[in-house]
């Protein structure tokens, strides 16, 4: 590669990041506006029915209309998810986390997953499920990044002669990092939070130059979203328009003596988060065990949506609180209230979920009575628990924020009751915010990225101290009971993800005890028959093999995909001249979907030919001595993103191979 080509590749990296940023922002715009419009339309229909029926005793009609619309919308999401791309279910953050950790998750960055994710999240949010759009936006950003950086779409059989250099896992992972950051930036309007999210979830392969590129990507994403949303809100071009701040602008302040109250709220958040995770864990286990038929999965989603709609309707029906019109600008549903008043519960259900969070944060002190909040938060908690893990795209941030904001506001009201005339107790917004942060922190157990996301989404840096401490306390309290919800789902899916730290008390474990043995090896020059036998053996469907010479010394490493391509192109010693070599481009071209062995036709004659692997093998792979300790192996895997590590003895002979799963098993089941 010439110096010029190298330069060109560097420039291409920046170009791709710019593209990822802008397109992620655009996708976020599409999701946002569709959700707003669909929700508005749905609520208009239901409102008209309610207005008609309040006076003529037919309230069951709006209830049925509501249930039908919700079930219909959610069914679209469920059908897509179940039958097109099951990996698009849930928030997508666990999947992206696994991908960035170095695990190969099938289909996670495919175009159909992207499509399912986007359409599904629009349908499920506007279908009134207790879900948010944030997690799926992050996933969508990641898929876009993976797609753009490869310069082609295999689904549409489109291949551009662009970005060929990036067609391998390592480069792709960097771009997916950028895409996830852009997704966070678009979802919360938090560019720095996006970068830190990528750092927190993918810190294993971090480098400083990448940070700067990713920052550009997330800034572009967040501002292209802002630009288009400002047009949508008729403040065209006003990028500092306060309506664009995700949770509304927080302007209040707090006193030092309120910090202990906040800490206490952190403890509550940790407890409630742990409870949420525990219940969701049980439900997920039940689901995995009993709801296995695809048709039943769709039915389950529909049932949840029907129950959600009914609960929402009954809450409004039973809620006795009416407030004078105008306290909440978004809602004017009268329902059973007197003329000139609106049902306060409606401000939580007749708006997109983000606006409900904003209402709980910012509506004035008297706008929600304690009873209304309790009636709201108790059922919502369980419904949200029940919803996460269904076969629909579903973010977890907004439900957690809603629950937290509700009980946080309740605490704020209590404080106000204790000290009605104090200046510090007049502002319930800060309690709602701290409650939301505590609940979210207790559920997902993210740390720095969540703090920064919340700071950016509220536009107030002065809350950083309480937010950080509260998130820390919530995480500690929650970790005392169980894992974060994403980790729980990763474990339930049995994905070999590596934690930040090596398994504890493993310093005396050596490679000998961890490795898989005996390792399947191939020779430098070997018979086609042997290679076919190795590749077709169902017991060792490994993705790579150590290569040895005649004396059994370790010479290098060859990937399964490389062997397959060699077989397919019939690069046999007997058939080709000494200088005929496959180009690197040939290997890149078939990335990332490799064909199975069965489509390679090898005749009887060819079986007896030889293949010289030497030009193609990796002559200097990572190896480790059989006496190396487990923490050392772990750190190699974690820091370099390895998938396999060859264990050699003193004579440089292959004695075994360590894979990700070996380490993971040791961490989780090793003690037995």
């Amino acid at each position: 590669m010439s110096h010029r080509q190298w330069k060109c590749i560097q420039i291409q990296r920046w170009l791709i990041c710019v593209l990822i940023g802008i397109t992620t922002g655009l996708v976020a715009v599409i999701i946002n506006i569709s959700i707003i419009q669909l929700t508005e339309l749905k609520m208009k229909i239901v409102t008209q029915a309610i207005e008609k029926c309040v006076k003529s005793a037919c309230l069951y009609q709006p209830l049925l209309i509501w249930i039908t619309i919700n079930a219909g919308l959610v069914m679209i999401a469920a059908l897509l998810t179940v039958f097109v791309a099951p990996v698009a279910a849930g928030s997508g953050i666990p999947q992206i986390k696994c991908f960035l950790n170095g695990v190969k998750v099938p289909n996670v960055v495919r175009l159909k997953t992207f499509f399912t994710k986007v359409v599904g999240i629009i349908a499920s949010v506007s279908g009134g499920l207790a879900v948010g759009k944030e997690g799926p936006m992050i996933h969508a950003g990641a898929v876009l990044a993976a797609g753009i950086s490869q310069g082609r779409s295999i689904t549409f059989k489109l291949t551009f002669p662009l970005f060929e250099y990036f067609r391998n896992d390592r480069e792709k992972r960097d771009f997916v990092c950028a895409g996830a950051a852009a997704g966070v930036a678009a979802a919360f309007g938090a560019p720095v939070g996006g970068v830190l999210f990528s750092l927190e979830e993918a810190s294993s392969f971090w480098n400083q130059a990448l940070t700067w590129r990713i920052f550009l990507c997330s800034i572009l994403s967040s501002y292209s979203l802002n630009f288009f949303m400002s047009l949508y809100h008729h403040h065209g071009g006003d990028l500092a328009y306060p309506g664009l701040i995700n949770f509304g602008k927080f302007e209040g302040t707090y006193e030092g003596f309120e910090l202990p109250i906040f800490f206490f709220m952190g403890v509550i958040g940790g407890l409630l988060g742990a409870l949420f995770n525990a219940i969701n864990h049980k439900i997920t286990i039940f689901r995995n065990k009993y709801v296995t038929i695809r048709f039943l999965k769709v039915v389950e989603v529909i049932i949840v949506s029907v129950v959600s709609a009914t609960i929402a309707f009954m809450m409004m029906f039973l809620s006795a609180q009416c407030n004078p019109l105008g306290q909440d600008i978004n809602v004017d549903l009268q329902f059973l209230c007197e003329d000139g008043q609106y049902n306060t519960m409606a401000s939580l259900f007749f708006t997109p979920p983000e606006d409900s969070v904003k209402s709980l944060f910012h509506d004035p002190l008297g706008s929600f009575q304690p009873l209304t909040i309790i009636i709201f938060v108790l059922p919502y908690f369980f419904v949200a628990c029940w919803t996460y893990g269904l076969q629909v795209p579903s973010g977890l941030f907004i439900p957690a924020l809603l629950i937290g904001a509700a009980w946080g506001r309740l605490i704020g009201i209590c404080m106000n009751a204790i000290c009605p005339d104090c200046l510090w107790s007049q502002d319930v917004a800060k309690y709602a915010l701290i409650g939301a942060a505590a609940q979210l922190g207790g559920t997902v157990r993210m740390t720095i990225s969540l703090t920064v996301i919340l700071i950016e989404a509220t536009g107030n840096i002065s809350y950083s101290l309480p937010l950080m401490t509260v998130l820390m306390i919530a995480k500690w309290v929650g970790d005392f009971f169980n894992q974060g919800i994403y980790d729980k789902h990763v474990h339930l899916a049995k994905v070999p993800i590596l934690e930040w730290e090596p398994p504890p008390l493993s310093i005396n474990i050596h490679a000998r005890e961890v490795m898989g043995t005996p390792a399947v090896t191939v020779r430098e020059v070997c018979l086609v028959k042997d290679i076919c036998r190795v590749l077709s053996d169902p017991h060792n469907c490994h993705s790579g093999y150590p290569v040895t010479n005649e004396e059994g010394k370790f010479r290098g490493f060859v990937l399964r995909s490389q062997l397959l391509i060699l077989l397919k192109h019939k690069v046999f010693m007997e058939r080709s001249g000494p200088d005929d070599r496959l180009e690197l481009a040939v290997f890149r071209d078939s990335y990332p979907r490799y064909f199975p062995l069965s489509i390679v036709n090898v005749s009887e004659d060819e079986q007896r030919c030889h293949i010289d692997i030497r030009p193609y093998l990796n002559p200097a792979p990572y190896t480790i001595s059989e006496r190396a300790s487990l923490p050392r192996i772990f750190r190699l895997f974690r820091a370099l993103g390895l998938r396999h590590l060859v264990v050699v003895n003193d004579n440089f002979e292959v004695v075994g191979i360590v894979t990700r799963k070996d380490i993971w098993k040791w961490g989780h089941h090793g003690k037995s």
């Binding site: 309230l59 209830l63 065990k289 009993y290 039915v299 949840v304 003329d339």
Partner: protein, 406 residues
């Protein structure tokens, strides 16, 4: 240069404060040098002529001397000082007897004030001698209660010929603007506050709002009589407080927050805005008034309520048509986004009376069907999960049976 002059002034202040214990004169009583501990302060002040008039005059302060002026007056005597001011403001002939004297504090119409309190001052520290020089001019403005629509008439009435407006740097043409603006805004605010409850200021104060807008526009266009320019700069941006701008913003914010414009058809006649109340607003107000009249009549028992035992039900049955009429029209106007705060407020209170006071809101609650649907829906998940569980265990049993058989 500047320093030299300031020194000179300071010296002058001192010498005069020693020598010139000038007695109080009845007419123009110019300024003073107060010696306060170690700081000498020069105050240049213009007063009105008669003690009896003071009560009717409102103090009006304006920053007068700036460093530029000081430079102009450098090395000049008092006489030239007067001459200069007459040159700048040729119309005001009989002012300008300003001299530097020490303040005399024994008269009733020259109230000694703490110089920090009443004057908008320009203060310059003397670096070497630790002397602060402060200058301030006191203006007087005639307080008029009547507002004349004609701008020029207004001016004539407001500023009596005898009043000294020439001190300071604002020429008479600009002062006209300032006075006019002052009166227009105070009229508007007066109107808005008196009509705040019940809220009717959109209808009642539109004319006054237009006046404020017009005068502001004149100031902003910066064209005064005789084609003189520069008033905009002097009025709007002369100091760091910018009271005129603040006041204007305040007035417009009242108007726009109440979305008053929605209730008017704005047309232009002779380049001035004319506000006409819209048809819809008129009609709605009329309907609301009728409804309220109906309520009041029944509540006060003008109409006999002895047909039924419950007087409230009579209100509800008798006024329902009027009320619904008004309510429907209101909803329609709301959909067209033509509401202003007058209408919103009137309707809110009508609705509150209807609902709270007379309990007339009808809400027919049909609990039966809603509860049945809820029960069915709650039953669904239980059925589903039990079914799934049963199916699975049965299938498992079945497959186990098959396995053992085979």
């Amino acid at each position: 240069m500047e320093d030299m002059y300031l020194k000179f002034l300071a010296e002058k202040c001192r010498s005069e404060s020693k020598n010139n214990a000038m007695p109080f004169e009845e007419t123009l009583q110019p300024s003073a040098i107060l010696s306060e501990s170690d700081t000498s302060i020069c105050i240049q002040e213009v007063h009105s002529e008669k003690a009896s008039d003071v009560a009717h005059f409102e103090a009006f302060e304006e920053k007068s001397l700036s460093l530029q002026n000081i430079e102009i007056f450098q090395n000049e005597t008092d006489a030239t000082f007067t001459h200069m001011s007459n040159n700048v403001f040729p119309q005001s002939e009989n002012d300008g007897n300003s001299t530097f004297i020490s303040e005399v504090d024994d008269s009733e119409n020259v109230k000694r004030r703490n110089s920090h309190e009443g004057y908008n001052m320009l203060a310059t520290k003397f670096p070497d001698k630790n002397i602060t020089k402060i200058s301030g001019t006191k203006y007087v403005k005639y307080k008029t209660s009547a507002f004349n629509s004609s701008f020029n008439e207004f001016w004539v009435e407001v500023v009596p010929e005898t009043v000294n407006v020439a001190e300071g740097r604002v020429p008479k043409e600009c002062m006209k603007f300032l006075f006019a603006f002052s009166n227009a805004t105070s009229d508007f605010i007066d109107c808005a506050v008196t009509n705040a409850r019940p809220l009717h200021y959109c209808q009642k104060c539109a004319e006054k709002y237009v006046k404020v807008q017009e005068i502001y526009k004149l100031i902003f266009k910066d064209v005064s009589e005789g084609g003189m320019k520069g008033c905009k700069e002097l009025i709007l941006r002369a100091d760091n407080i910018q009271v005129v701008l603040m006041t204007y913003d305040f007035v417009t914010s009242i108007w726009s927050k109440s979305t008053c414009d929605n209730c008017f058809n704005v047309s232009y006649k002779n380049h001035t805005k004319v506000y006409n109340v819209t048809k819809e607003a008129k009609l709605l107000l009329k309907k609301i008034n009728n409804t309220m009249d109906c309520f009041r009549d029944f509540a006060s028992g003008i109409f006999p309520s002895n047909q039924t035992s419950d007087s409230n039900s009579t209100v509800c049955t008798m006024c329902i048509n009027l009320y619904c009429d008004a309510n429907d029209l209101y909803d329609q106007i709301e959909r067209d986004k033509l509401l202003c705060s007058d209408l919103i407020d009137s309707m809110n209170y009508t609705r509150l009376d209807w609902g709270k006071k007379y309990n007339c809101t009808i809400a027919v609650i049909d609990k039966g069907e809603v509860w049945i649907i809820t029960a069915i829906v709650c039953f669904l998940p239980i059925m589903f999960y039990v079914g799934a569980w049963l199916c699975k265990t049965k299938c498992l049993c079945h497959s186990q049976v098959v396995e053992t058989e085979s």
